[in-house]
């Protein structure tokens, strides 16, 4: 502890343009994401649950009297639909953790440009959810195929589509967290948005309701991951899911801009 050497040396100033600003903010958010243990826990949970559910489904099929195996990739997609909540938790905690601990004030004092903070958070969350989704889905496909003794046809395509869906969902959840601020509220809402429509869709047969369901994130995710859709192509599903993610993220940026942290 010393009071000398407070330094009068001023390091060279950083660039002030927005690409430089975004670059610096990305660096800061990456440092923050990799320096808390919950990040690794959430990633591990996502992979383990995805593989475990796929393995369980495959094992259940083998117990049938007359096994009628589904493709391994389809079982992996089922696994990913449950395992995604590990990634939802990661995305939610990346933003709500700052509100819970008060460190959001430190963050915004260092980077007053709210849009840059939220964009950088979404980007670093996406940067880990994509490879995590890829690995989880591929491992789940391999596991299911091994249990059932069938091939792994389409493993690359399904893994990539699943990873894309998980990434866009992660971005959406970051935006949701900026609006709702609490971890519990954000995760609960995300679970409701991602799980409730398929359940409702199975009960309700109203055509209008069914159409609406298909355009909500859950319906879009189903088409994107399975690679087939009645109303639209998987490519369009990816695009529409991207629109959802951007809209919710923008709502988060507006909330961050308007409300006192």
């Amino acid at each position: 502890m010393t009071t000398t050497a407070l330094t009068t040396r001023r390091p060279q100033g950083p660039g002030t343009g927005w690409p430089k600003l975004l670059g610096r903010t990305l660096g800061a958010e990456w440092t923050k994401l990799r320096s808390v243990r919950s990040t690794y826990g959430s990633l591990a949970a996502a992979v383990v649950v995805t593989v475990a559910i796929a393995a369980l489904a495959a094992w259940a099929i083998t117990t049938d009297d007359q096994p009628n195996p589904a493709p391994a990739t389809q079982l992996a997609a089922v696994g990913a639909s449950v395992g995604q909540f590990g990634l939802v938790a990661l995305a939610a905690l990346a933003i709500t953790g700052e509100f819970a601990t008060g460190s959001i004030r430190t963050t915004l004092a260092a980077t007053p440009a709210r849009w840059a903070v939220l964009t950088a958070k979404a980007a670093v969350v996406g940067a880990v959810t994509f490879p995590a989704g890829l690995v989880a889905t591929a491992l789940a496909t391999l596991t299911a195929s091994a249990i059932l003794g069938i091939g792994t046809d389409g493993i690359g395509a399904v893994s990539a589509r699943s990873a894309a869906a998980l990434t866009l969902t992660g971005v959406l959840v970051v935006g949701l967290g900026a609006v709702l601020r609490s971890a519990a509220g954000t995760i609960t809402t995300a679970v409701a948005v991602l799980f409730a429509p398929p359940i409702l869709g199975a009960i309700v047969s109203n055509e209008v309701v069914a159409t609406v369901m298909d355009y909500l994130p859950a319906g879009l995710t189903t088409v994107l991951v399975s690679g087939t859709g009645e109303r639209y192509s998987p490519e369009l599903a990816a695009l529409l899911l991207g629109v959802w993610a951007v809209v919710v993220l923008a709502a988060g940026a507006i909330a961050l801009h308007r409300r006192d942290p």
Partner: protein, 307 residues
């Protein structure tokens, strides 16, 4: 320099900060005083662009904080020490802040050494004592080598050694020509560190003056005079003094005049003095009086000094 112009913050019907205007000048320590809940932290958060003012504005070096692209190089702030993720190490916390403002990584180790946390920098901030978190907050404030520092209750949770260290640090920063703005609800914190005081109560400006003047203008600062001609001298002093009270046949207490003033009058009129002493109010008393008057009458007792 920090500049507040009619800064106001309203929460529903409550005015947390009410039309606050003052400037914080570089090169000296400015104490920001007020009881808990007076609006100090809210004002500081508005200076940092965190809370949005209901009216008025705050400027740092002439610009709103939210316009700064690398603010840590302009303003270093210690807000509540809890504003750190408890699962992140001090080194990573500062590392993220450094990256966000394009500050070289080497500066992180420098400030860690400066606040004496270098040996524990790898531990989670959640495991720190309040005093250690306070030091971490100060390290973050100094990270960008800013020309303006803003400390909200910096000695909270510090041990006597730490308190002495913060006081010296604050003086050193001002001596280097920086703008130093330090809040406290305790007058005693300011007594030997602040050069200038801004006092607020219930969100309103109560005083904005050099510390000496705050003490001098207190009615607790009195001149005690012992003289055989107490009654006569009392009459002579009454027109210029704030109050003159005759304590006994031979003792007067005078408020609002210096010992020089009283001595001159006595000499000019040939009155013999047996004692002439200044009984200075403590800053504590001056502060209590200021906030008391303010609460009673809701008026400013000291006018701002043109800065």
């Amino acid at each position: 320099m920090i500049e507040l112009n009619g800064l106001t913050k309203r929460y529903g019907p409550t005015l947390a900060v009410d039309d606050l205007s003052f400037r914080v000048q570089p090169g000296k320590v400015t104490g920001f005083l007020g009881p808990n809940g007076a609006g100090k932290s809210t004002s500081m958060r508005m200076v940092l662009g965190l809370d949005r003012p209901s009216a008025g504005q705050a400027l740092v070096d002439g610009r709103p904080y939210r316009e700064l692209r690398a603010p840590l190089r302009v303003v270093g702030a210690l807000l509540d020490a809890g504003a750190v993720h408890p699962r992140r190490s001090a080194r990573d916390h500062l590392g993220a802040l450094a990256r966000s403002n394009g500050i070289p990584r080497s500066r992180v180790e420098e400030v860690l050494g400066l606040v004496g946390l270098d040996t524990v920098a790898g531990r989670s901030a959640g495991a720190y004592s309040l005093g250690m978190r306070q030091r971490l907050g100060i390290a973050a404030a100094l990270l960008g080598d800013p020309g303006i520092v803003l400390f909200d209750e910096p000695v909270n949770g510090l041990d006597p050694d730490g308190i002495r260290w913060v006081r010296q640090l604050v003086k050193d920063l001002a001596a280097e020509g920086r703008t130093v703005f330090v809040s406290s609800h305790l007058m005693s914190e300011m007594e030997d560190t602040a050069d200038h005081l801004v006092v607020i109560g219930r969100g309103r400006l109560v005083a904005d003056a050099p510390i000496g003047q705050v003490i001098a203008s207190s009615s607790h600062t009195v001149v005690r005079v012992r003289t055989p001609a107490a009654a006569q001298l009392g009459r002579l002093l009454t027109p210029t003094a704030q109050t003159v009270r005759q304590e006994s046949d031979s003792v007067l207490t005078v408020v609002g005049l210096t010992t020089d003033d009283v001595g001159e009058v006595a000499h000019a009129t040939g009155i013999r003095l047996h004692e002439l002493t200044l009984q200075s109010a403590s800053l504590e008393e001056a502060y209590m009086e200021l906030s008391q008057h303010h609460l009673d009458y809701g008026t400013s007792q000291l006018t701002p000094q043109g800065a």
